[in-house]
């Protein structure tokens, strides 16, 4: 029995690892090819569409000014650009800061919302902003984002040159990656995620998941879909599925770069990732039950990817962990022998080399320090994810059984360097 479970979990784990290997290969190939494509498109960009940027902001006075400064510096014809900040039920100085920018820049607009329409979370705020937006293309940036000046232009370029793309997803980089060990780990995680999962899936399947920020989507699609799903905790994953379902693909276009702030404390990290994990599990539940109604089979690929990642892969890992530990104390008569250690080492090396390869694709990231951190990452950060997913699954299962309402956790921001650290504790939880 223990034998059977062990083999089963190993098959599941390695099924996922093989898929990741496959994606990593795709990501690498995409990295090699996209430069030429980018150069070709830059020569003939086509007519730029009217562009609306939505920035949902709830108590963001710590970071919103930097964000808007970056918006002001965007290289895009200003007559075709509007930036709509949805000041969603803030109790801090966000409103005033935004109004200040709005007064100075004609293309920056402020929308202030209060309950009952406002304060419902990110999806709600985005829907409020969408009502005011006039552009043919809608882009979303989180309030802690500072896009590079050409980011928006590249997003528009992607949609211009790829008529089948419903949305274009840029690349995000970590602003505070050097702050502490946690942000360093997150930096490596985001790079690996984008080059492996995003670029890899784009290369092989013309798919990418819309992240919460730095993406542009055709207005007509949002209209057809009726905006964002306000019940979804991870509105981005949910939106991706609906876009696929309409038959569009989602392009990963790493030329459009934004820089964003990542959690600097474990507590905040845990809460943010908990939202993602639960949100993704929500999506799995929502679409898996209605699998037969999905028009485009391609989604099933992603759906199963999520299903595997969040349920089976972690179950497999947990199971093999449990068997391994149990076997230390009780002889389970496992017959697997040597190969289990070989697999263990191979799995670890695979993880390491994939992270290192992803780092190598980003200038100046493949350093000795980062390589050492990657080793550490496997034993700390990755194991933390395991605990997180277990917890998230438990909570989601409980929610589904007791039909609880979802509550939105807005990620807590941190002072960018140079500023004083204030009021962190007080604003730890909101809405």
């Amino acid at each position: 029995m223990a034998d059977f479970l062990l083999y089963m979990s190993l098959f599941i784990i390695w099924f996922m690892l093989f898929y990741h290997m496959f994606l990593m290969q795709g990501g690498y190939l995409h990295h090699r090819r996209h430069r030429e494509l980018k150069a070709a498109w830059e020569k003939d960009p086509g007519e730029l569409p009217s562009f609306s940027i939505l920035i949902p902001a709830h108590n963001e006075d710590m970071v919103i000014a930097d964000t808007l400064k970056a918006m002001a510096a965007l290289q895009y014809p200003k007559d075709r650009l509007e930036v709509i900040v949805v000041n969603d039920n803030s109790s801090d100085a966000t409103g005033e800061i935004v109004e200040g920018f709005a007064a100075r820049y004609s293309f920056i607009h402020a929308v202030h919302t209060r309950p009952p329409e406002g304060g419902k979370g990110k999806s709600g705020a985005l829907n409020q902003g969408l009502k005011r937006a006039s552009g043919d293309v809608i882009a979303v940036y989180d309030a802690d984002n500072t896009p590079e000046p050409d980011a928006v232009w590249y997003l528009a370029l992607g949609l211009n040159k790829d008529p089948d793309a419903g949305a274009v997803v840029g690349k995000f980089r970590v602003q505070n990656g050097g702050r502490n060990l946690l942000t360093r780990l997150i930096n490596m995680e985001t790079l690996t995620f984008q080059w492996l999962a995003q670029a890899g899936r784009w290369f092989w399947f013309r798919m990418a998941t819309i992240p919460g920020t730095n993406f542009a989507i055709r207005r007509e699609i949002l209209d057809e879909l009726g905006g964002w799903d306000e019940k979804a905790l991870s509105e981005d994953t949910e939106l991706s599925f609906r876009v696929y379902n309409l038959g569009w693909h989602i392009r990963f276009f790493p030329a459009a770069v934004t820089w964003e702030q990542e959690p600097e404390t474990l507590n905040v990290w845990w809460k943010q990732r908990m939202r993602w994990a639960r949100g993704n599990e929500y999506v799995i539940g929502k679409y898996l039950l209605g699998l037969h109604r999905l028009k485009h089979r391609k989604i099933t690929l992603d759906l199963f990817y999520f299903l595997f990642t969040y349920l089976l892969f972690f179950t497999g890992i947990l199971l093999s962990h449990a068997i391994f530990v149990t076997n230390l104390f009780v002889d389970l008569d496992l017959t697997i022998g040597m190969v289990s250690y070989v697999l263990l080492v191979t799995g670890f090396l695979l993880f390491l080399v994939e992270v290192l390869l992803a780092l190598s694709l980003e200038r100046g990231q493949l350093t000795l320090k980062n390589a050492g951190t990657a080793v550490l990452m496997y034993f700390t950060y990755s194991q933390l994810w395991l605990a997180l997913v277990v917890h998230a699954t438990f909570l989601e299962a409980k929610r589904m059984l007791t039909k609880q309402e979802v509550t939105w956790y807005k990620t807590q921001r941190f002072q960018t360097s140079g500023r004083e650290t204030v009021k962190k504790e007080k604003r730890a939880k909101s809405s």
């Binding site: 390695w14 290997m21 017959t335 697999l343 390869l357 190598s360 493949l366």
Partner: protein, 569 residues
């Protein structure tokens, strides 16, 4: 004239045709054994004779000497009379023997009733002998435990072939006079059996071989055996180029938990046995579990209820039905009950043999012979085994009343109660773990069996004792003059069970296996292959994973180099 010549040529052709057939018929050794026993039935002693004759005779017919009729000797080449108990024989017996032309051999009592041919023998007082010898053959003299022999007197002109030597006496033991042989012992156990078998060469007019066949059998190889020890032993035997046998038990039952372990649970042991099979070893099926009730595998008796000292006529948990003929209303009822018992035993043995052969074949292990656990087997049991195996290795239980009636015989044989099975007798016993002198004792036995030319030197060894003692044993055994190691694979053996036929010869094993049939016979069989496939695929997975590690490593290094070039260029 022409016609005459033609006729002669024709006649010559016919004669050429017929003559070989005639000589062949003459060489056919069809033996009639007449016996006198307490109950008039073939008993353990007579079966000892059966084993001895089985090495020479083509057919053996047994008959109670009191019931012999004139027609019984028709077509027979040899007559043996065995007087196990003293009895006055009817005159007809003497008449039948007197009219017989071939050699007649009388063993034991009642020589006086065997006709004129045996008048050369008379009774004498008994004496104690401490050695046996064959006049004119100094290498055949052996010291023996002091033994009291019924003395005989012989007429002049009688040839003494074997004699017993006492402190003051010389006593004839086997004698011959005009084709009439007399064996003056009552039991054909060693050391007498070795002399008897040697004399059989003369009686059957067969040339004695120069070689001494020998075998070594590695005992009790079950799923809990130590694979490293097995491999050590295998390497030693391979190095010395000695073919050998492995007594394999497919199932190990844990003595405390009752848990059953199969070779599929011990891949390393399995691997070792496979290696051995490929490098000189031949598999001998040694029962299926080596136990009937809950005793440790290798300790229990599988085909004998040792607690009640009876064959397996009942389930493991059942109380045996110990009734005797007197408990039945009619002989028919008794017979029917006996038939039932035999049918039960047959089914029990068949199930285990089938399972054992199939299971081993499924692992790629091909048993070429059978050895019953502790050699315990009823007469009915040997009959069942003969349906599955052509070869049996070990000692032999001689009757169904007491499992301790265990004996062996000096030569490979084909006794009638083996129903066509060939017996490879184990003569040397084994290296007892606690006996420092064990190897020497085995060699003493080997020396005794050398009295018979070509007398088997077969013994067994427990691999868990390690290589040193085996090395010593092999070293000693190789000193046996003209020793010739037996290789089961060189011999023609056939093992068959449902869906599986295994045969050997010329050093190879041939199998005919109905895979579909075997895989559907028990779910365990395909499950084993699935498990192997899974295990192999694990290595495949690791291989693919490692390749990816290398590939991605190369990518990363290349990428990094490119970046440096851009930087510096």
């Amino acid at each position: 004239m022409q016609g005459k010549a033609r006729l002669m040529v024709f006649a010559m052709i016919i004669m050429l045709w017929i003559e070989p057939a005639l000589t062949e018929a003459a060489e056919e050794k069809d033996v009639l054994v007449l016996y006198t026993t307490t109950d008039g039935e073939v008993n353990a002693d007579v079966r000892l004779l059966d084993m001895a004759l089985g090495a020479f005779a083509d057919t053996i017919t047994f008959k109670n000497a009191a019931d012999v009729e004139a027609g019984d000797t028709e077509g027979k080449s040899h007559i043996f009379y065995y007087g196990v108990t003293k009895e006055t024989l009817p005159g007809r017996t003497a008449e039948v023997i007197d009219t017989f032309n071939g050699p007649v051999t009388a063993i034991g009592y009642n020589t006086a009733g065997l006709g004129e041919g045996f008048d050369f023998v008379g009774p004498a007082i008994c004496g104690t002998v401490t050695a046996l010898s064959m006049p004119g053959k100094p290498d055949k003299t052996r010291q023996i435990e002091p033994h009291e022999l019924d003395g005989i007197t012989i007429e002049e002109g009688t040839r003494v072939i074997v004699e017993g030597l006492g402190a003051e006496t010389e006593q004839p033991v086997i004698v011959e006079n005009q084709g009439h042989y007399h064996v003056a012992v009552n039991s054909l156990v060693p050391p007498f059996s070795t002399y008897f078998s040697q004399v059989l060469y003369e009686i059957f007019d067969e040339e004695a071989p120069d070689d001494t066949p020998a075998f070594i059998r590695l005992e009790d190889i079950h799923p809990m055996a130590d694979p490293e020890q097995l491999m050590d032993v295998a390497e030693l035997l391979k190095e010395r180029n000695i073919p050998y046998m492995m007594a394999v038990i497919p199932v190990y039952t844990h003595p405390e938990t009752g848990e059953e372990l199969h070779f599929s649970d011990s891949p390393k042991v399995l691997q070792a046995i496979r290696y051995m099979q490929d490098n000189g070893g031949s598999v001998v099926l040694h029962g299926y579990t080596h136990q009937f009730r809950d005793s440790e595998t290798g300790e229990g008796f599988e085909f004998w209820d040792v607690e009640h000292d009876m064959p397996i006529y009942h389930g493991q948990e059942e109380t045996p039905d110990m009734r005797t003929e007197a408990d039945f209303d009619s002989p028919e009822d008794y017979e029917a009950w006996q038939e039932e018992n035999l049918a039960f035993e047959r089914e029990y043995i068949e199930k285990r043999l089938t399972r054992g052969i199939q299971e081993l074949a499924n692992y790629g292990l091909y048993p070429l012979a059978f050895e019953a656990p502790h050699y315990t087997m009823s007469q009915n049991g040997y009959n069942v085994v003969s349906d599955y195996f052509s070869t049996y290795v070990g000692q032999v239980q001689l009757h169904d009343k007491d499992w301790r009636t265990m004996e062996t015989t000096p030569l490979a044989s084909n006794p009638t109660f083996f129903h066509g099975m060939n017996l490879l007798p184990e003569t040397l016993s084994y290296v007892h773990p606690d006996d420092e002198q064990a190897v020497q004792k085995m060699m003493d036995r080997a020396h005794q069996y050398q009295v018979t030319d070509g007398g088997m030197a077969g013994g067994f060894y427990h691999p868990y004792l390690g290589v040193e003692r085996l090395e010593k044993l092999l070293g000693e055994m190789e000193q046996i003059p003209n020793v010739e190691w037996m290789d089961l694979k060189e011999m023609e053996n056939t093992t068959s069970a449902e869906n599986v036929v295994i045969s050997s010869g010329d050093g190879t094993i041939d199998t005919t296996i109905d895979r579909t049939g075997l895989m559907t016979a028990s779910l365990d069989y395909p499950a084993y292959h699935a498990k192997v496939l899974v295990q192999k695929s694990m290595w495949g997975i690791a291989g693919v994973g490692m390749s990816a590690v290398l590939l991605f490593g190369v990518y990363a290094v290349r990428q990094r180099k490119k970046e440096e070039d851009i930087h510096h260029g």
